[in-house]
Amino acid sequence: MKLQVLFFGATASISGKRSFQVETDEGMHVCAVFERILIEHPSLTAHKLLFSVNQQYATGEEIVREGDELAIFTAVSGG
């Protein structure tokens, strides 16, 4: 099952990626998916990170579904 993952700002700059796909198993919790992504991108873990699923802040308890849009970004700095 494929999920879309987005990086923005610092996470895009550090990883050199803005958007990519990950393969996951059915029924996984999003927190497990995020953990797997961070293992692939260890340099991100030095930062305070926020996580979203389908444009909502993630609790981590969500079960992933085909086509979900995940995002990982540093604490926001707009305004």
Partner: protein, 150 residues
């Protein structure tokens, strides 16, 4: 009318303030944030703002909904600029109209604080000798498993 928008064009405070005006209110309170030349003594050449656009719009709309539930206000407009901003240009304008001034002041202050905490937009400061993505105050940020974003 209420509105939450992202734009790469310069912000016109007056016209944003004017769009929130309903006939039964006599005043608006407007917060205008802009690019300062110095941050912690370091000179900024210009800024770049990047938004997770779809989510930023949703979060701004949530803030408007929450503000209207919490405060006795009539209308709210939030416009955040993205892309490259020169020194002195406005990055964000939040305008609130209410029958009683007090509620407009309180709501506008709450909205800018929450926007800075929850709306997925990031600022990159560009200096003569480098650049830096500003990271928000971790202590107040919403993190996974920490449901402050109700």
């Amino acid at each position: 009318m209420d509105f939450a928008e992202l734009t790469t064009s310069p912000l016109d405070i007056g016209s944003i303030a004017r769009r929130v005006v309903p006939p039964e209110c006599g005043a608006t309170v407007t917060l205008d944030g802009y690019v300062r030349r110095f941050t912690k003594g370091r000179e900024t050449l210009y800024l770049e703002y990047e938004a997770y656009e779809a989510m930023a719009l949703k979060e701004m709309e949530k803030l408007i909904e929450q503000a209207k539930a919490e405060f006795e206000i009539a209308n709210v407009g939030i416009v955040h600029r993205t892309g490259k901003l020169e020194i002195g240009e406005s990055s964000v304008v939040i305008s609130v109209a209410s029958p009683h001034r007090k509620a407009a002041f309180a709501a506008c202050e709450w909205l800018i604080r929450e926007l800075k905490r929850t709306v997925p937009i990031w600022k990159k400061e560009v200096y003569a000798d480098g650049e830096h993505w500003v990271e928000g105050d971790a202590a107040t940020a919403t993190t996974m498993g920490n449901e402050t974003n109700e």
